[in-house]
Amino acid sequence: MKPRHKRFAFIGLGLLVLGVATVLILNAFQSNLVFFFTPSQVADGEVPQGRSFRIGGMIEDGSLVRENDGLTVRFIVTDTAKRVPVTYKGILPDLFKEGKGAVAQGKLNADGTFVASEVLAKHDENYMPPEAAEALAKAKASGAQQSKSLVVPQGRQGREGSL
């Protein structure tokens, strides 16, 4: 091989490796995206079947029920417009409380219950996960016949608020 051919082979191989890496990365990316839905969207049937996604909103007051095994809990996530029943088996984050915001990841089962594999931790009582805040804001906005909603993280107090 002439040096020039060698060089071409070199560059070609490099591009090939880079191409394979890109395809690999994008493929993995595509299949691991987790989408976020509000309880209203869940009620309207906009959510994917058999695929994991996230929901967020408020935990309805008085909805938290613990089963006898001490680990399985049932609660209702609401955006004030619609309600979604959720079950979760495991230990809840420290700041999980009724009347506060939460985000859960999991799948919807056949009878419309959201089976959470993960309930996301918050780290500050004043802090509302942005997803949960958005769900509430959206429901509010659609109630007021507005098409677009502004995301207002409720209860978040600027610089002192959240870490």
Partner: protein, 663 residues
């Protein structure tokens, strides 16, 4: 009064930084040595001014001066002195002050260890660092002043987030920032070289130790952050692919690539343009990390501020630094030249391949971190990218990189022969494959990933042994000890750092392959078994801490009927912020960690409890510290020590060529 002195010191520092950013660079361009001479005193003056500001803020915390807004927001009178001082960097404003302070520390270090540099180069380096400092000081003085007053003063503070009241949190941010900001030196070297147009092997030799030191700090900083998450968050995980973690990991990947590419520029004069680009990239990613973490765009424990002005400022600053340096790069890089050619199978070729893989990995992290933010910003919906994405990308990208890591140090520069390499490495390869296949079977749980992980780890160690043996055959000395001593420290550094990766991989592989986790409801006196260990729950009692009250569980752990240890996990309530926190109890060990954390109280004194058995988990952090140790060894190499003492370029040319032959 004291806070005003601090504020004033920052304003003065900004003035000095402007002077330092303009005069020396201009002086270097026109060859005016009087202007260039401004750089050194200006950098030292700026260091003293920012140090003053830093001490003033520290004083405000120590004296519980709650008339300072930042102090009132992040500390509280019952908190002990060290946590009040650590609160300096417990939130947004103070951590920026820490950033700037560390930048001036690096500047000061440059003025101390740059006697061997040409005047023009040194003034340009300090000038560029001065410009970076202008950006940060301006940011603090305009939109995030840590000395802002709160009038009337608060009777008591809001307290630091309990999660951050931890020894790990005291050291983690300064370490991480030493790394982040340390890349500013490599960046300043690169920009100085582009400005001056003298990008040669000497330049690489000067900038190498700085980069390595920054890389060491970053490695340790990330490891400490990961360790903190492990024992403090109570979830038993050590890496969550959280955007904040990614923000620190991206500069690390770019920095690792930079360390290796600098080696080629130093030894062979190659990769010049690429090295400069990597230096720009590493520092830009450090800035991006700061932006991601500090602007509050991330949903995370670290997202301090939600003020859009700040976000805009950092974004503009980021655009100027990255855009400006890339424009300069595009303009000047073609003049730099390409350096010597090399064959595909050569040490350069393998280092290049490793560089490309590291950067591809960095790109995949960048994609996973920024894409959700873009979608959100454009109002196209909310998504998140979870750990499975990063896991499935990293294994195939890092496997070839680590395979090459074993071969690279054995390959000749310029052109190596594959059959020859295969012959030299066949034993290492055979041993690795057989052990990797057999070991999991012996341990009773064979999975492909387990074998792959062990294969890579053993491959690194066995090839390191082969490399060292061949190296020893080439150095002079009668006894083995003498010959070991005459291997240069930078070479030891490389071997040690690579073995650190091996230790790290063993940790990750074993934890993933053999860990057991159990969430259980435990009544008083009840037992639960995971691994070979039996945990007996003996109830929880109330305890009172300095600024919290807690329920403390008592767990007797035994193995084969003999008691191993007693663990006391706690559920703490911090009344000031009305925050509940899980304090896990861990029994660490070389071969396994036992980990207990309390969930919630149930009826009759029962608790829901999380139990973990984590084999080899401490190897993960141990590996990181070994990597950093390798970096320290490399920097303590003789040639740098000589360079710092002498005005002349480090090593005479003849010895260098001699060394190159051996290498």
């Amino acid at each position: 009064m004291i806070p005003e002195i601090g504020h004033f010191a920052l304003i003065l520092a900004l003035c000095v930084a402007v002077v330092q950013g303009i005069l020396p660079i201009y002086g270097a361009a026109v060859g005016n040595s009087a202007l260039m001479a401004v750089a050194k005193p200006a950098a030292r003056g700026q260091f003293l001014l920012v140090l003053t500001a830093f001490c003033c803020l520290g004083y405000a915390f120590a004296e519980k001066d709650f008339s300072v807004l930042y102090v009132a927001a992040t500390s509280n009178s019952p908190a002990s002195l060290h946590y009040r001082l650590a609160a300096i960097w417990g939130a947004h404003e103070g951590s920026l002050l820490l950033w700037t302070f560390i930048l001036t520390v690096w500047m000061f270090a440059v003025t101390l260890f740059s006697a061997h540099l040409p005047d023009a180069t040194r003034s340009r380096i300090l000038g560029v660092m001065g410009l970076v400092s202008v950006g940060f000081l301006l940011f603090m003085l305009t939109v995030s002043n840590p000395f802002e007053r709160l009038i009337p003063a608060a009777p008591d503070g809001r307290d630091l987030n309990p999660l951050l009241q931890d020894p790990g949190m005291v050291i983690h941010p300064p370490m991480l920032y030493m790394g982040y900001v340390g890349f500013s030196v490599a960046f300043a070297f690169a920009i100085a070289a582009l400005l001056g147009g003298n990008l040669d092997a000497a330049w690489a030799r000067w900038s190498r130790p700085w980069t390595t030191v920054a890389w060491c700090f970053l490695t340790v900083g990330i490891a400490m952050g990961s360790g903190w998450a492990y024992y403090e968050l109570g979830w038993g995980g050590w890496w969550f692919w959280d955007p904040v973690e990614n923000a620190s990991f991206m500069p690390w990947l770019a920095g690792t690539a930079l360390v290796h590419s600098l080696a080629v520029t130093d030894k062979r004069g190659g990769f010049k343009v690429w090295t400069v680009l990597l230096a720009i990239m590493a520092f830009s990613l450090s800035l991006l990390g700061t932006f991601l973490v500090r602007s509050g765009v991330l949903t995370s424990v670290h997202a301090f501020a939600t003020d859009p002005k700040r976000g805009l400022f950092i974004l503009a600053f980021l655009a100027i630094v990255i855009g400006g340096s890339l424009a300069l790069y595009a303009w000047r890089a073609p003049r730099v030249g390409l350096g010597g050619g090399f064959a595909m199978v050569s040490r350069e070729g393998m280092l290049l391949a490793n560089n490309v893989l590291l950067i591809a990995a960095m790109g995949s992290v960048l994609l996973g971190t920024l894409y959700p933010l873009f979608l959100d910003a454009l109002d196209l919906g909310k998504i998140s990218v979870g750990p499975p994405y990063f896991d499935s990308v990293f294994v195939p990208l890092m496997t070839p990189a680590i395979f090459l890591m074993g071969i690279g140090p054995l390959a000749q520069w310029k052109k190596a022969s594959l059959p020859d390499l295969a012959k030299r490495l066949r034993w290492a390869f055979g041993v690795s494959v057989i052990t990797a296949l057999a070991l999991p079977v012996v341990m009773g749980n064979w999975t492909p990933l387990l074998s792959l992980g062990l294969l890579l780890a053993i491959w690194i160690v066995t090839t390191a042994i082969v490399t060292l043996r061949e190296r020893l055959a080439h150095v002079s000395g009668n006894t083995l000890l003498e010959r070991l001593a005459s291997v240069p420290r930078s070479y030891w550094g490389m071997l040690v750092a690579h073995c650190g990766i091996a230790v790290f991989i063993v940790g990750v592989t074993m934890v993933k392959g053999f860990e057991t986790e159990k969430d259980v409801r435990m009544n008083v006196g009840e037992t639960a078994t995971i691994g070979d260990y039996t945990f007996r729950f003996d109830g929880a009692q109330d305890v009172v801490g300095p600024n919290y009250t807690a329920a403390r569980g008592i767990f007797h752990v035994s193995r084969d009927g003999r008691e191993t240890t007693v663990l006391y996990p706690e559920k703490r309530r911090y009344p000031v912020q009305n925050q509940v926190m899980t304090e896990a109890a861990i029994d660490p060990g070389l071969l396994r960690d036992l980990y207990v954390s309390l969930g919630e109280p149930l009826d009759d004194g029962a608790w829901s409890v999380r139990l973990y058995h984590k084999p080899f988990v401490d190897w993960i952090w141990g590996g990181c510290f070994i990597m950093a140790l390798g970096g320290v060894l490399a920097v303590s190499d003789r040639r740098y020590r000589i360079a710092w003492r002498r005005q002349e370029p480090a090593v005479p040319a003849s010895t260098r060529t001699a060394r190159r032959k051996v290498a």
